[in-house]
């Protein structure tokens, strides 16, 4: 994601996947619809996430090109709208549903059962196989859109392909686990600091690193306050941010900044 936008602040949340997914899930939890049985919230989150991303993409497109800044700003506006919609739904909801929503939003793997893993697996496999093929072109995108185009990258097509890919992957992930913040932002940064900015390593590395961090965090979440389970999303952000601050300062000093 950071590669697509040429911006170290980007993560999947920026284009609205997470908040769109959340609106979808919250809507069905609150309204009590159970069309797909226990899967309803997941399906709604998946659909909500995808619909939101494409809405953001279409709105920020003009004259056959997408400006990155417009895209990001549209995403921010959509995130705000998503937050408001969730607020309204919570306001209308009964206390039990509010509780359920709160926990879903905090994110957790506790709801991830094997059938759900199997359901998400195809998306994850396709994503992991396809994503590294874009690595070379992502590197070129770091030069900016114009130079990348001069070097033969069809920027608009690349961006559409990658946003679709990320949307499907994230929507699938959000669907089973809720929003687990910070991993998508922090893991690529940690790896970039450790191994340099080339995407050939960064893309598969981030997938693996993200998984490792997540499993570790989940383990901690389940054991620290056992028998209770801390919400995983809280834990990743709580422990992740100080580490991230420290690394950020250190690498700024060592490398002389981002841009």
């Amino acid at each position: 994601m950071q590669g697509v936008f040429g911006n170290p602040l980007a993560d999947p949340g920026v284009i609205g996947v997470s908040s769109g997914g959340a609106v979808g899930a919250v809507a069905v939890i609150v309204s009590g619809v159970r069309v797909f049985g226990q899967w309803t919230a997941s399906v709604a989150a998946f659909v909500g996430g995808l619909v939101t991303v494409f809405a953001v993409y279409l709105m920020s497109r003009s004259g056959g090109r997408t400006e990155v800044l417009t895209l990001v700003l549209t995403g921010i506006a959509v995130n705000a709208l998503g937050g408001a919609l969730i607020g309204i739904l919570l306001f209308l909801a009964d206390p039990v549903a509010v509780n359920e929503v709160a926990f879903w939003q905090l994110g957790s793997l506790s709801q991830a059962t094997w059938p759900q893993v199997v359901a998400v697996l195809p998306f994850a496999v396709v994503g992991l196989v396809v994503a590294p093929r874009f690595a070379g072109r992502l590197d070129l995108l770091a030069l900016g859109e114009g130079p990348a185009r001069h070097l033969g990258v069809d920027v608009e097509r690349l961006r559409l392909a990658l946003i679709t890919l990320v949307a499907v992957l994230t929507a699938a992930a959000v669907a089973v686990s809720g929003i687990i913040g910070f991993v998508g932002l922090a893991v690529p940064h940690l790896l970039r600091m450790a191994a340099g900015p080339g995407h050939r390593f960064l893309v598969p590395g981030s997938a693996l690193g993200g998984g490792v961090v997540l499993v570790g965090a989940d383990l901690a979440a389940r054991t620290v306050a056992a028998p209770a389970e801390l919400p995983l999303g809280v834990l990743t952000a709580l422990l992740g941010s100080p580490v991230f601050f420290w690394l950020l300062r250190r690498s700024r000093l060592a490398r002389g900044g981002w841009a």
């Binding site: 030069l143 033969g152 990258v153 900015p197």
Partner: protein, 274 residues
């Protein structure tokens, strides 16, 4: 994605027409920026685009690179309209140096230069790639910067690395937008000499410049733009004429001949210091 085979780059002999703007009209934000511009670009020739700020120099370069499409008229490359090319084929025919070259992540300088070889992925061997990168570093005097992170370089160092990336692309058509803007005297001359060498070796080089004397010393052809039109184009001594320049720039200038080799030198008319 892999539908059509990549087209191998074409090289034409010196003097041959590489690219051409034909009656190009281009408007941006409702304002006419280029008005009926005709410009031939020939192999083996260094063409300097001159003119005051806002005359349309960079826009003309963007039209030649395919970044902007003309509202009417057309831009041809090897006789074919630009929009007929796929991005990856175009990348083997022309390279473009933008006015500024930010890089979003801390790639090292040599990694940035290597990115210039990306279009050659299916045409050149790794050895050829490395040779092109080394030559580009030598031409821009940047070997000592190779392993530094690009974002930590100074403005002038970045400009030279960005130029090295463009040189490593090894296209016959080079479009350079103010390649000397951030450079000190020595590196200005280095860049112009490099461009001169490429032109003499058969490349077609088009560059936007602000320093009129620099253009006069190195360019084969000068095109003088004013308010979106080409006012004059030809050899430096034909185009750089005191009354025209004074009118175009809104500033009286003197044109002298260099005492030893006679190339025109342009200096604003200044009063003597008291």
């Amino acid at each position: 994605m892999m539908g059509r085979r990549p087209e191998p780059p074409i090289r034409r002999p010196p003097g041959a027409l590489i690219a051409e703007a034909q009656a190009v009209h281009l408007a941006r934000g409702g304002r006419t920026v280029l008005d009926c511009v005709d410009l031939p670009v020939r192999a083996g020739s260094l063409l300097a685009l001159l003119g005051p700020n806002g005359a349309g120099k960079s826009t003309l370069l963007a039209a030649l690179s395919g970044d902007l499409s003309p509202n009417s008229g057309r831009v041809l490359l090897h006789g074919r309209p630009l929009h007929d090319y796929r991005a990856q084929d175009l990348a083997l025919q022309r390279a473009m140096l933008p006015q500024s070259s930010p890089v979003s992540f801390p790639f090292s300088a040599v990694e940035v230069v290597r990115m210039g070889r990306a279009p050659w992925a299916r045409h050149a061997t790794l050895d050829e790639d490395e040779r092109a990168v080394t030559e580009a570093l030598t031409a821009t005097d940047t070997h000592h910067l190779a392993d530094r992170p690009y974002p930590a370089l100074s403005g002038g160092e970045r400009a030279r690395i960005a130029l090295a990336r463009v040189l490593a692309q090894q296209t016959q058509l080079l479009l350079l937008d103010e390649p000397t803007a951030a450079l000190d005297l020595r590196h200005q001359e280095l860049v112009l000499r490099t461009a001169r060498t490429r032109a003499s070796a058969g490349d077609a080089v088009v560059m936007v410049l602000h320093d009129l004397s620099l253009a006069a010393a190195y360019a084969d052809v000068i095109a003088l733009l004013h308010q979106g039109r080409i006012l004059a184009q030809g050899r430096p001594e034909e185009v750089l004429e005191a009354s025209t320049l004074s009118a175009v720039y809104g500033c009286p200038v003197d044109v002298f001949s260099h005492p030893t080799h006679g190339t025109p030198m342009v200096v604003p008319v200044r009063e003597r210091k008291v």
